[in-house]
């Protein structure tokens, strides 16, 4: 019996091995597996694995706001702690709450810094991030090629995603800068008023509360940075009231759990020309904001 079964297995392997080699070649050519709905997140996590980013003591987390507005050069120059910016486009507070458990486990940070504004509180968490969170660490840290099979996506989709990705330069510490307006985005759309609050906003406040509690229990100092908003955005009493209520809500949640709340909403310093849209600062603006944050954090981070 052994001979025919060995022959059968050998022949089966003859078909499996070329497929495995094909996927390895695909990986090495930069056609990354699709793990979540976010192209940037997948690429960043692949970069983290490739460059063995671990034991980050000053961990930045958040959406495009943290990604673009926390200037990496300034952060690295001013703090001696190992720093990395894990932020990615479109992350909601609910997503960050889930992702932080995984990132804290790998890095054991001393400080978590989160730059935020109201668009981080408008949508429900995206379940596709669970594909990454729930994957075992061997897969995440040593063998990300396995994601090709865990969350199978056709090669057609993988190739299409690679070629449709907006080219983005991410620096060595995971940050990026906004030096010109993103192409393919209608300027009206870029400057439109987001609807806020939404029916998902209370869920995101609850997630912020849970996140703050988690970090306090882990003895990690949580720094919540309220980033500036374009003056023209708050030109009505109603919008001003909404923004201020949001600030108060975030402040009360963070401070109740022992976190540090910093607010840089200052239309005198952050004038409209520093913005690229309602709440994203251009590179010059991000340098000013980061220097302000650093000045305040010098008192906290030793």
């Amino acid at each position: 019996m052994k001979k025919p079964i060995n022959r059968f297995l050998l022949k089966t392997l003859l078909f499996i091995i070329p497929v495995l080699i094909f996927f390895e070649v695909l990986f090495r050519l930069g056609f990354a597996p699709i793990v979540t709905d976010s192209t940037l997140f997948d690429l960043k996590m692949l970069g983290v694995q490739k460059h063995h980013v671990k034991n980050v003591k000053l961990l930045a987390m958040g959406s495009s706001i943290t990604l673009y507005e926390l200037n990496s050069d300034s952060m690295v120059k001013n703090f001696k702690l190992r720093y990395y910016n894990f932020a990615s486009w479109g992350l909601q507070i609910g997503d960050m709450n889930r992702l932080l458990t995984s990132l804290v486990k790998t890095n054991q940070p001393e400080y978590v810094i989160l730059c935020s504004s109201f668009p981080d509180f408008v949508s429900p968490p995206n379940n596709s991030y669970l594909n990454y969170i729930n994957a075992n660490s061997y897969m995440k840290d040593s063998f990300p090629e396995l994601f090709y099979f865990k969350n199978y996506n056709s090669i057609h989709q993988i190739i299409r995603r690679k070629f449709n990705t907006y080219p983005l330069y991410i620096d060595s510490w995971g940050g990026a800068s906004l030096s010109d307006k993103l192409r393919n985005i209608n300027s009206e759309k870029w400057n439109e008023h987001d609807i806020f609050p939404t029916r998902y906003t209370p869920g995101n406040y609850a997630a912020l509360d849970s996140l703050s509690t988690f970090l306090r229990n882990q003895k990690i100092k949580f720094i919540f940075v309220q980033v500036p908003v374009k003056k023209s955005y708050t030109n009505t009493d109603r919008s001003k009231h909404i923004i201020l209520t949001h600030f108060d809500k975030c402040k009360s949640i963070v401070e109740a759990k022992g976190g540090i709340y910093l607010n840089y909403y200052n239309t005198a310093i952050f004038t409209d020309h520093l913005f690229i849209d309602q709440y994203h600062l251009q590179q010059a603006g991000s340098v000013i904001l980061t220097s302000e944050i650093i000045a305040d954090l010098k008192k906290v981070i030793k």
Partner: protein, 484 residues
């Protein structure tokens, strides 16, 4: 654990190695391993329903032995009816309870009466229709002394829960599978290789055709009210193909997996789209279910109504097909679907051609006659139209859909809501139909004995493997028949 998931690939790889290398040569251990594997496979979905499966195995195992041992006919009948009632009661409860309650409430409403009855939030245990039918045929066959009961509980439990066929069949008869479970199995290279080919063909049908069809048809069915009839016609065509590719793809994988373990299980499809009539179609579609109903429902009814001539036969067939319809699910749409298919037999019954196979029925050569082609096309169109009933959520939706379908907008240019892999899907459908037409004297389309040299065959296998890898849709859907 879907057959198409990475978890199942890992499961079957480990299972296969242990089954042949560690337990090979020891029948008892192999059977015990099949049983353990089947229970793990089932519990992967929801461990709580494992108790129902195990309970059904236990009850029917002891009933089978007692029926065979007893000399008292009344007692044997009592035991048989106990087993049948328990099996049907669990099926009725899990599958049909809410349907009966809501139908009852609707009936009361017709008479302006208020019924204070509530439906329950019941989860349908996967595969319950399939394994219950296995246990029913087991008891019925013992009672009619067609088979002896299994005396080894591991054999019987393995027969009921055999994982390749547990969730969506084929519904194997006891004498097919129990006999094989009792016999020593030796690894057969040719059988295993053929099994792998059948799995590959099943994967191609499921992933490239069925799932891509689902991605194309679901948005059209969801928005059928605002789309032109031409789009609806396109969706109905694709859904007919989807249903076949999905279920026959699953059956191919199940048969292939069983072959890897040294079993030959019941064939479920025999190229149904080349059927020459509706009766011919039912000889080729979901064969294991049709045969089950023929043996245990139609034949007794036919005997019962034998004095009524053709009217009795029509009645027996109508009841049989209505029951087949109900088997599919708790909805009036399935009842109508089954009843209509029963009615399609009437012309054949009246002409006296019900059991006659047409000469060209197999479309066996390249010289395909025009008549055979017309017959196959007409049968396909009729199927397409009745699968609308199968696909709809309610009778109201069925009639609304027909109303929209038969409208002047059928001549408009059709709109596709989702455009992913449209061309690939249509090409893949053409390849499937062409390959199955060429191979219809074979068990499945990949039995390509005509190509003698291995590199030539390998090229076809790699072609299929990479087509699957390249063109799977964004979401792999559950098998349609899982919900039955």
């Amino acid at each position: 654990m879907l057959f198409t998931s990475a978890a199942f690939v890992f499961f079957i790889a480990v299972f296969f190695m242990l089954y042949w290398y560690v337990f090979g040569g020891n029948l008892k251990l192999q059977n015990l391993f099949i049983l353990t594997g089947s229970f793990v496979f089932y519990a992967w979905w929801d461990w709580r329903f494992l108790f129902l499966l195990a309970g059904s195995c236990t009850v029917n195992y002891f009933l089978g032995i007692r029926i065979a041992e007893s000399k008292n006919e009344k007692y044997r009948n009592f035991l048989l009816w106990t087993g049948l009632s328990l099996g049907l009661a669990s099926l009725l409860f899990f599958k049909y309870f809410n349907f009966f309650v809501s139908s009852l409430i609707s009936t009361f409403r017709v008479f302006h009466l208020q019924a204070d009855i509530h439906t329950l939030n019941i989860t349908l245990p996967l595969g319950i229709s399939f394994y219950t039918f296995k246990t029913l045929s087991y008891l019925l066959d013992i009672k009619s002394e067609k088979i002896r009961p299994a005396t080894d509980w591991v054999v019987f439990y393995s027969y009921v829960s055999f994982f390749p066929a547990l969730l969506s069949g084929p519904i194997d008869r006891p004498k097919t599978l129990i006999l094989q479970l009792q016999q020593k199995r030796v690894f057969d290279y040719h059988q295993a290789s053929d099994g792998m080919r059948q799995i590959l063909w099943g994967l191609f049908k499921k992933i490239v055709i069925a799932d891509n069809c689902a991605a194309l048809t679901n948005p059209i069915f969801d928005h059928y009210k605002v789309l032109p009839a031409s789009s609806l016609l396109f969706a109905v065509f694709l859904f007919t193909i989807q249903l076949y590719a999905d279920f026959s793809g699953y059956s191919d994988m199940a048969i292939g997996l069983a072959s890897l373990l040294g079993f030959k299980i019941t064939r479920n499809f025999n190229f149904p789209f080349f059927a020459q009539s509706i009766p011919d179609f039912w000889r080729r579609w979901h064969i294991s279910l049709t045969n089950w109903f023929t043996d245990y429902v139609f034949t007794p009814l036919n005997i019962y109504f034998r004095n009524y001539g053709k009217a009795g036969l029509i009645l027996a067939i109508s009841i049989n097909f209505t029951a087949i319809g109900i088997w599919h699910g708790a909805n009036w749409t399935f009842i109508l679907f089954g009843f209509l298919h029963g009615c399609f037999f009437i012309p054949s019954i009246l002409r006296g051609s019900i059991n006659k196979k047409k000469k060209n029925a197999g479309l066996t050569s390249w010289s395909l006659s025009l008549k055979a082609f017309i017959n196959a096309s007409a049968t396909f169109i009729l199927l397409m139209l009745t699968f609308i009933i199968f696909r709809a959520n309610s009778l109201a939706q069925v009639f609304d859909f027909y109303h929209k379908l038969f409208s002047p907008s059928i001549f408009y240019r059709f709109t596709i809501v989702e455009k992913i892999n449209t061309t690939t899907t249509l090409i893949a459908i053409a390849i499937m139909l062409w390959a199955e037409w060429l191979q219809q004297d074979k068990q499945h389309a990949l039995q390509i004995d005509a190509i003698k040299r291995f590199p030539g065959r390998a090229l076809i296998y790699f072609g299929l493997i990479f087509t699957i890898l390249f063109f799977s849709p964004p979401t792999i859907t559950d098998f349609i028949y899982f919900k039955f």
